[in-house]
Symmetry: C3
Subunit: 305 residues, 3 copies
Amino acid sequence: MPNIDFLYEILEKRGVSGDEHAFSAFVVDYVLQRRKNWKVQPEVYFGEKFHDNIILKFGNPRTVVFAHMDTIGFTARYENQLVPVGGPDVSDGDVLVGEDALGYIECSVTVDDGKVTHDFPRGIVPGTNLSYKQDVKVADGYIQAAYLDNRLGVYNALQLCEDLEDGVIVFSTYEEHGGGSVPFLMKYVYENWGVRQALISDITWVTEGVRHHEGVAISLRDQFIPRKVYVDKILQLAEESGVPYQVEVEGAGGSDGREVQMSHYMVDWCFIGAAEDNVHTPYEKVSLKDLEAMIMMYKYLMAHL
Amino acid sequence: MPNIDFLYEILEKRGVSGDEHAFSAFVVDYVLQRRKNWKVQPEVYFGEKFHDNIILKFGNPRTVVFAHMDTIGFTARYENQLVPVGGPDVSDGDVLVGEDALGYIECSVTVDDGKVTHDFPRGIVPGTNLSYKQDVKVADGYIQAAYLDNRLGVYNALQLCEDLEDGVIVFSTYEEHGGGSVPFLMKYVYENWGVRQALISDITWVTEGVRHHEGVAISLRDQFIPRKVYVDKILQLAEESGVPYQVEVEGAGGSDGREVQMSHYMVDWCFIGAAEDNVHTPYEKVSLKDLEAMIMMYKYLMAHL
Amino acid sequence: MPNIDFLYEILEKRGVSGDEHAFSAFVVDYVLQRRKNWKVQPEVYFGEKFHDNIILKFGNPRTVVFAHMDTIGFTARYENQLVPVGGPDVSDGDVLVGEDALGYIECSVTVDDGKVTHDFPRGIVPGTNLSYKQDVKVADGYIQAAYLDNRLGVYNALQLCEDLEDGVIVFSTYEEHGGGSVPFLMKYVYENWGVRQALISDITWVTEGVRHHEGVAISLRDQFIPRKVYVDKILQLAEESGVPYQVEVEGAGGSDGREVQMSHYMVDWCFIGAAEDNVHTPYEKVSLKDLEAMIMMYKYLMAHL
C-alpha cells in the first residue's frame, strides 16, 4: 500500500497546469509497476491520445473518481514578471522553483499592488513555469506542504486502487486553470462504460463549518450545485459507513465537478475531500485524521454507491 | 386544455435548481394523463437516464422548445446563513418555505450587507433548499406571483402540446444556476431527430423597450447573440401571425439559449416570452394579454417555422 | 496569389458576430473560384448545416487552422442606444456604418459614462448591427484599418491555401462574442479526420514584450494555457524555420483556442499571429513585415508540424 514515503515522493513533483507531462509519466510508471499487487488488474489508458491524462478502469464500473494532477503556479513573462496559473495566494518572500533551458531556478517573489516579480539573477526563459519550493512537515496530527491540493487527492485515488473491484479512476489535468480535460474524459468514460456517477477527489477549505480533525468534507454545493437526489444518497451511505465526515455548503469555489455538470452527459457528481488551511500557499495544512477519513470514505462509497 | 387552475397548481410547486425531482415527477404525471387528449401522441422520455429532465417528441420535429422547470432560491448553510441559488432579488422580510428531515419550514429573511440569514427558530439541515412562499394574485389584467419565471414558460409549453403536430418540447433543469442540462438535451434531440431550430420559452424583463400589454417579447439578443438570419426569419413569421409582439435588444441576461449556442451542434435559437416586473422577487408580475400572446405566437411558430 | 488588393476587398466587408452570413458567402465564392489555382484541391464544407462557418479539407490533414470571420461592433437598441458586440474600444466621434430595412446608415457615436449612442437622424431598426466605417491606410511599413482583427487572420489562411498539401482550414463565426461555433467545428474536424493539432490564425496585441516589425507572435499563453509540450514543439520548428518571430506571454485575452481547449476532444492549440496597436478601434495597425512573417510561419508549420 502506498505509504507516507510515497506521499512525500509525489509532493516533490512539480506539475503546473498545462505542464503535467512529467508528473503524469511518473504516475503511469507507478501504476504499471504497482498494479500487480492490486486486488483487480485495471485497464490503463494514457499517452498522446489522452494528452497527459490517465484513466484506470477496474471491473464493471458504476462510479468514476476524478483526481487532478496539476498545481497552481506562475508563468515567467518578460523582464522579471510572473503571470499566475490558477489562483496562487502568494506572499512577499515565497520561494519558487522551476527549470528552463539554462538550468535549475530558485528565486523569491515580490508582490507589489498585485504584480508579482522574481529576483532570479538572470532572465528566465519566457513561458517557463515556476511553483512553490516544497517543504513538507508532518507533526501534531497535521501534514503541511505545498501542493497538498491536489497531491492528496491523487494519493487518495491511488490508495483506492489497492483493493478496488469496480470503478474508474481518472487523473486529470488543467483543473486549476480553467479546465478543459474533463469534457473529453467524461465522454470517454461515459461512452465506453456508461458510468453515470462521479466523485471528485480533491481538497477543500477549512471554514466556520468545516474544521480540522472532524472528518472528510462532503460538499453539498460550491459555486455549482450537484443534484440533490445524488448527494442525499451519498449522505445516507456516509452515515452507514461509520467514517467521520462533515458537510460543506459554499457559494463559491469550483472543481472538476463543474465540468462533469457541463458535459454532454447526464452524470451526477459530488466533491468529497479533506479540508485544508492556507489554501494555495506553500504551507497548505491538512489533518492526518481527515486524510485517513477521506481514504476510508472513498473505499466505502466505491463499494456501495 | 390546461386552464388557469392548472397554472395555480404548478405555481404552488417548489423546484430550486438541482432539486427539481418532485416537480419533474409532477409534470411527467400530468403529461402521461393528459396526452390522450392531445392532437398527436408524443413519445415521452424521462427517468434516471435523463436525470430530472423531460423530452416530448411529436411527429416529425423541425423545432425544439426549451422551458426550464427550476426556480431561484437559497441553500441553508451553517447557523442561520443562506447561500443564493441563481440570482434571487431578495428583500428584508421576504418569506421562504421548504422542508428538511425535521419537517416543514417557513421563515423570514434578513439581508445585511449582502449576507442573507433566516429567523427559523431551529437550525435548518445544511443543504436544504428554500424558496419564496407563494402568493398568487390575478387582477386588473395581471398575474402576480413567485416563480412566474419560469412556471409560465412551462405552462406555455404544455398549452402548446394540446394541438402540436411536429416538434420537440423539453422541460429542462438548472437554468437559473449555471446550466448543464442543455448540452445533453441538445445532443439527444439533435442526434435522434436532427432538429436544428430552437425556441426558448422563458420570461424576460419589462424595460424601457418592452412594456406590459404590448405583446410577447421576441429577443434579438441578450448577453448572447442568436444568428441574425434566424431571428429575421422569426420576425417575418411573427409579422405574418398577427399576434401582438415587441422586440427586445439587451446587452445582459442569459437563458437556455446560451447553452444551445455553446453546444456541439449547429442549432439556431431565439428567446421568446412575456415580460415581467419585479424579476426574481416573490411578486413577479406579468400581463395576461402578453401571456396569451406568448401562447398564440408559439402555436403559430411551431406550425410555420 | 491573393494580393494586397484582395486584402483591401475583404477589409471593406462587414460581419459583426452573429451576422456573418454575407461575408461567409463572399469567402465561399472566392474559394470556389480560386481553388483551381491551388496546389491541392480541397473539399469545401459550408451551407445551412454549417451555419455560416466554412471548412476546407486538404489532403491528409494533421493540423487545423482556425480564422474567425466576425468583427466587433454594435447592435442598435431602442431610441438611439447602442449595445456592444464583442469589446469595441470606441471613442466619441467614431463613425459607424450598417444597413437596415430603410437603407444605408452612417452615423457618429457619443460615449457618455460607458453608454454609447448614435446621432443618426432617424431611428435605426432595433437589432441592426453597426460597425466601424472602414479607412485603410498603407504607409511606412504598416497597414492601418478597422477589422484587421481578424481580416488579416482570414487573409493569412487564404494565402496558406495556395500551396497547402495537408491540413484543414476553418473560417469560424462568433469568436468576438462568446464563441459557440468551435465546439461543433472541432467535433466535425476531429471525428471526420482525427486532427489533433490546431493553430489559431488571429491578431494579438502590441505590448512591452511584443513589438512591431519583430516577427509574428507565438503565444505561449493568454487567459488560457496551451499544453507546454505542444508549444515547445512549435517553438523548435519556429526556430528551424528561420522566420522572424517573438514569444508572447499574457495573463488575459482569449481566442478560438479557448474553445478548442474546452471541447470534448484532446486537441492541442496555439495562437500565432501578428500584433496590432489600437486593438478594437477603427485604426488597428499592423506591421507589414509581421504579416509577412505570419504567412511564412504558417506555411512552414503546416508542412512540418
